[in-house]
Point group: C7
Chain length 95, copies 7
């Protein structure tokens, strides 16, 4: 557990290229069990023949980027780019 004054990763916005399977709901759900994650939102950006581009927003307290990126990879998808990263004080609600 980080020192109370330490800033932790609280928000990540990722541009992700994923196959159509697993679907949006399964994809989002697979990310909900990760350490510190309190909110997962997946929004469709563009749909192509075999793939779709989604904006993946993960919020939480002290979330772990490596773990998220690995889970995305295990789902057959790829982090195309990291669009936004926020470090701040943890919010009160801890998972």
């Amino acid at each position: 557990m980080p020192d109370k004054h330490e800033l932790v990763l609280t928000r990540l916005v990722l541009d992700v290229l994923k196959p159509h399977k697993p679907g949006m709901v399964e994809f989002a759900q697979a990310l909900t069990g990760l350490k510190g994650v309190t909110r997962v939102e997946v929004s469709i950006i563009e749909v192509d023949a075999d793939t779709e581009t989604v904006k993946l927003t993960i919020e939480g307290n002290n979330i772990n980027f490596e773990q998220i990126a690995n889970t995305v990879k295990q789902l057959g998808a790829a982090v195309h780019s990291v669009d936004q990263v926020t470090y701040s004080h943890p919010t009160k609600q801890q998972t």
Copy 2:
């Protein structure tokens, strides 16, 4: 009932292609009885000769995508795409 720290499906935005019958009101109402659903909103996007495209937003606590998709199918409509999926902590109000 999910563990209090577990994230649950709290919001779904679906792009749905439906026939003109059942109408908007009947279509929305048919989705209100499903488990965990606390809000159903249907907005018209485009009207064609035999069909209409609607944006269907379902909010709730621990809503069930399969059940929603099945109900949509039973209404003669089809989930064209899942536009947004949100997993978060359940809100206080439980149905």
Copy 3:
């Protein structure tokens, strides 16, 4: 009276084609006496020679679409389309 956990129709947005008579104010007022209605708003969208298109928004608790559509018809107007339908928990204030 619906079960306290039941979702009820709380908002309707209708696209209505109406003659110039009755006027906007009489038209809105005629809808205020219907069961469950707590707010009626009529906004002008387009004015033509003999008719005008208005956006009619009805809010309330457990409002009745059939009753609203019938009243609109009795006023010589027609529901051109249902643009938005919301089912949610009733709000506290009951009429």
Copy 4:
């Protein structure tokens, strides 16, 4: 005084064509004394050689459209169209 559950006219937005005299301020003030009126706002839309088009917004509790339209006429102006009408429960503050 209307029944406490009755919806009353609480907001009117009128498109008004007025001569340059009386000016905006006198025009607005002349409407402030009418029954139920709690707010009068006049915004200029277009200025022509002899006339100006203004958006007149009247808010209050149980305001009277006929009385407002008559006062507008007595000021040498004309209600060009009624752009928005809202009926709702009266707000607490009563004049």
Copy 5:
């Protein structure tokens, strides 16, 4: 002092043509001493060779348009048009 239920002039938005002198700050300050005025804001709209057009917003309780217009004139400027007038109940803070 007006009756507590009376609506008073609470906001004026004026389009003013002024010479470059007095400057924006002196111009705004000269209006701060007038009866009922609680806020004066001057924003530049257009700058020409000898003059500038400004948007002058005056807020307060029971402000006096004639007095404001006279003060504007004494500063060598002219009220080009009255863009918005609001009458409402006085706010609590009285000057």
Copy 6:
């Protein structure tokens, strides 16, 4: 100290042309010590070969325009125009 009912200069927005040196941070800091100033914000608008145009926003209680303009001049910059001036009641927090 001004009378408690007196309006004071609380916000200034200036369009300033400054050389690249001193930099944005030094420029902002140099203005923080002036009487009544509680907030200084400098935003870049346009960068040219030898100069840059910045929007300088100063907030405070009873701030002094002359003093600010003089400090800007001592920093080798020039107030190109005064874009917004606000006089209002002083806020509680006093420096």
Copy 7:
């Protein structure tokens, strides 16, 4: 520790050109340990072959621009421009 009435640097928005390595998350994290910093946000603006342009927003109490610029440089990146600088009273939460 600055005098309680002194204004301190509370927000910096920097336009930064950085190599692809270190990535967005490592880049943001490297800035979290600096004195007074309470929030670090990095957003991607443009991606080129070898570099990327990011908007770096640093918030805090009495943050130190030199220290931030040095850390950016040590990460192989360059402050392209300072886009916004805010000095204000320190907020309550102190790191």
